[in-house]
């Protein structure tokens, strides 16, 4: 009976809800659309938005108004239909609001503070629906705002509890059902409309008990996920207390899962769940709330069966409702970062040429319809190699092409030989099948480079004429000269290839570069994002420390380091980093030897922006010519994804 009423009510009001939501402007609608999907996956068995809060497995949030108006015998007619409609719509909006707020707070969800606008809309619109229900002089606004204020206060209390020793360990601090305040607000409205204000305390208690019963079920369901994410819940606190486990510092997920087994706390929790439903059912019977009583009776049978199954006693209370729950009591969860890393690896290794990352020009550079630089693919290979992937075949191909192309930046004879290409070539050689063969092949260009470094007193971006590398006589304006990051890239390559063999070139180049960094900080970088340059500079300083040049008093390592420390302090203040910026901050902190300064929110930003194919959207990485003499930002999905992957791998290794 209650199920038929629920379906009938949904069918009557759903179109009004759809119409209301359909009027949202595009950006809000785009946010809401995903909330609809997520809410449907969370609160319906079918995954359809129109089925939310329907059936015996769901808390009956959308039915609270209808059922109470019916059970409290509000006269059928236009007024009741109107009231039912407003209560239904308000319930749906408040549910979406509650879900969105939870998503914003979960640093590993796909929601962020950009969704605050949606929360604002949902809050305001739900309040409007409720305000339309009752005369303006009714005490209802003050009445219904109380559960809402309690919810807000509870939320603040929960947040504080996370950081306070002792408080977050107390199960009672976390013992509240997510849907309870909304249900009580709806009940308050129904009570006002039907003159049942006196029944409210009992109804509130009945609804709170029912909501808590579902909360225990949901807490158990997400127990492993919550443990992995460091998200306190009532169920976790109950298990921890039973086993004498402190929740600060946050315990290893396996320890609490094992304690769940050893202390038989799952049984304790499902027993509590059953008792809560039972008490609510009895209260509903006592209050003559027939719809609630019938619904709670079916829920009770469901939970009873679950408990029997958990105890291995079979059966449970005989009942006509659908028997075995199909959802596991505890849902298996992979740690978010492990899943994200596997996805990123899958994406990065999908195309061994990394062609999307090539800096490809179709605007007619050098009078050619297509010119490309494979240099960014070298950076991607370097990241993959540094994390232990066997990329030797891809590296061999990259190095062979670089050598055959005369170490030019672009694959055109008019392009000049380029230090960045030489640098990445040297750094990749150790990941190649035969490193010595490749290093030997770079002998000529390295000699030219050493010549230019000695002549100029610093590392150039573009290398002068070099024997054996023919050049097309065509005047070009070569951009980016003087970039310290390019110099650092090369010096890192030379340190990799042989700090003694190339000692003099490294000494001259490092002295000039670090002196420049000590003078102008990150302005020594020309071509790349400053955060990227910061990590590269820090990496160079670290690598020089490991060579005899590290103690060379002529190289201003200490002065440059001091400047980089300040630059990192300033960079850490960024308020809303993009995914690539967050990744570069993680990398910079690690390269600076300051892993303790990594803000945990940066990992959240990186995770939140990963797409389902494992990639991240490309973000500006280097300035590049476009349509003649204009310059625009080069960006690549593969390169940004590699940087995000690098950061996540570093975080995993450091965890």
């Amino acid at each position: 009976m209650w199920a038929d009423e629920q379906t009938s009510s949904r069918d009557r009001h759903w179109r009004d809800l759809e119409r209301l939501l359909g009027e949202l402007p595009p950006r809000l609608l785009r946010q809401l659309k995903l909330v609809e999907y997520d809410l449907a996956l969370r609160c319906s068995s079918s995954g359809r938005f129109r089925d939310i809060f329907t059936g015996v497995d769901q808390f009956p949030l959308l039915s609270v108004g209808d059922w109470l108006l019916a059970d409290w015998a509000m006269t059928a007619g236009p007024d009741r239909e109107r009231a039912e409609r407003h209560l239904f719509i308000a319930a749906a909006l408040m549910a979406a609001r509650g879900h969105t707020i939870g998503g914003i707070r979960d640093t590993q969800s796909f929601y962020d503070d950009g969704h605050v606008t949606l929360v604002e809309y949902l809050t305001g619109r739900a309040a409007t629906e409720l305000a339309r229900l009752v005369p303006s002089d009714s005490p209802f606004p003050e009445t219904w705002s109380r559960p809402w204020l309690e919810e807000l206060e509870q939320d603040l209390e929960d947040r504080e509890a996370v950081g306070w020793p002792g408080r977050g360990d107390d199960p009672e601090m976390l013992r509240h059902g997510l849907w309870s305040p909304t249900a009580r607000i709806l009940a308050a409205a129904a009570a006002t409309l039907t003159g049942h204000e006196n029944a409210r305390p009992d109804v509130d208690e009945m609804l709170a008990g029912l909501a808590m019963s579902f909360q225990i079920r949901d807490d158990l369901s997400t127990l492993q996920l919550d443990l992995q994410r460091g998200r306190p819940s009532y169920a976790i606190a109950v298990v921890a207390r039973a086993a004498g486990i402190a929740l600060r510092p946050w315990p290893a997920p396996a320890v609490v899962l094992g304690a769940l087994v050893a202390t038989r706390s799952a049984e304790t929790l499902v027993t509590e769940q059953l008792e809560l439903v039972r008490v609510s059912r009895r209260a509903a019977e006592r209050l003559h709330l027939e719809s609630f009583a019938a619904y709670a009776n079916d829920v009770e049978a469901r939970v009873d069966r679950r408990l029997a199954s958990l105890r291995g006693t079979g059966g449970g209370r005989r009942h006509s409702s659908p028997a075995t729950p199909t959802r596991p009591l505890i849902v298996a969860a992979e740690p978010t970062s492990a899943t994200a890393l596997a996805m990123a690896k899958g994406f990065l290794l999908a195309d061994p040429s990394f062609r999307e990352s090539w800096e490809s020009h179709r605007e007619g550079m050098f009078g050619s319809p297509f010119v490309a630089s494979r240099f960014p693919a070298g950076l991607v290979l370097e990241i993959l190699g540094s994390h232990g992937h066997d990329v030797s075949a891809e590296v061999d191909e990259f190095l062979a092409f670089a050598e055959a192309n005369g170490f030019r930046y672009y694959d055109h004879r008019a392009s000049r030989t380029d230090t960045d290409t030489v640098g990445v070539y040297l750094r990749l050689a150790r990941h190649a099948g035969d490193p010595d063969r490749w290093l030997a092949a770079a002998g000529t260009v390295l000699a030219c480079l050493a010549r230019d470094v000695e002549a100029g007193g610093s590392v150039p971006v573009w290398i002068g004429e070099c024997e054996g590398i023919d050049a097309e006589p065509r005047p070009v304006v070569a951009l980016g000269e003087g970039c310290g990051t390019v110099a650092a890239h090369l010096l890192l390559g030379l340190v990799d290839a042989g700090p003694d063999t190339y000692g003099e070139t490294i000494r001259i180049g490092a002295t000039a570069l670090l002196d420049r960094i000590a003078g102008v900080g990150l302005r020594a970088n020309v071509n790349y994002p400053h955060l990227y340059a910061l990590g590269v500079f820090a990496r160079l300083v670290g690598r020089l420390d490991g060579t005899r040049l590290g103690s060379d008093p002529a190289i201003p390592t200490r002065e440059a380091t001091a400047i980089l420390e300040v630059a990192l302090d300033e960079a850490r203040r960024v308020r809303r980093p993009t995914a690539q910026e967050a990744a570069l901050l993680v990398i910079a902190c690690q390269e600076m030897g300051r892993p303790g300064d990594i803000d945990p929110r940066w990992a959240g930003v990186v995770l939140r922006h990963q797409r389902f194919d494992g990639s991240w959207l490309g973000e500006p990485f280097a300035a590049a010519p476009n349509r003649g003499r204009a310059v625009t930002w080069y960006s690549s999905t593969i390169l940004t994804s590699a940087l995000c992957y690098d950061a996540l791998e570093r975080l995993r290794a450091g965890a």
Partner: protein, 70 residues
């Protein structure tokens, strides 16, 4: 056991890792399974483990994958 954490971690691993659980539940492989994760299979540990075996078995049946969304 004075510090229950390793024991709890072992049970937690058994809950989520079906192969490890199967070895723990096999009396002939139990000791090896414990040793493989660095727990000495003393009589005390084995007793404690066997007290939790039934609960582990029951709970493992209630532990599983969420239905995928496609």
């Amino acid at each position: 056991m004075s510090d229950e954490s390793p024991f709890h971690a072992m049970l937690g691993k058994a809950l989520v890792d079906a192969d490890f659980r199967a070895r723990l539940m096999d009396p002939e492989q139990q000791a090896d399974a414990l040793s493989s994760i660095g727990i000495e299979p003393t009589r005390e540990v084995l007793n404690e483990l066997n007290q939790s075996i039934e609960a582990l078995s029951q709970l493992s049946q209630a532990f599983g994958d969420e239905i995928a969304a496609t």
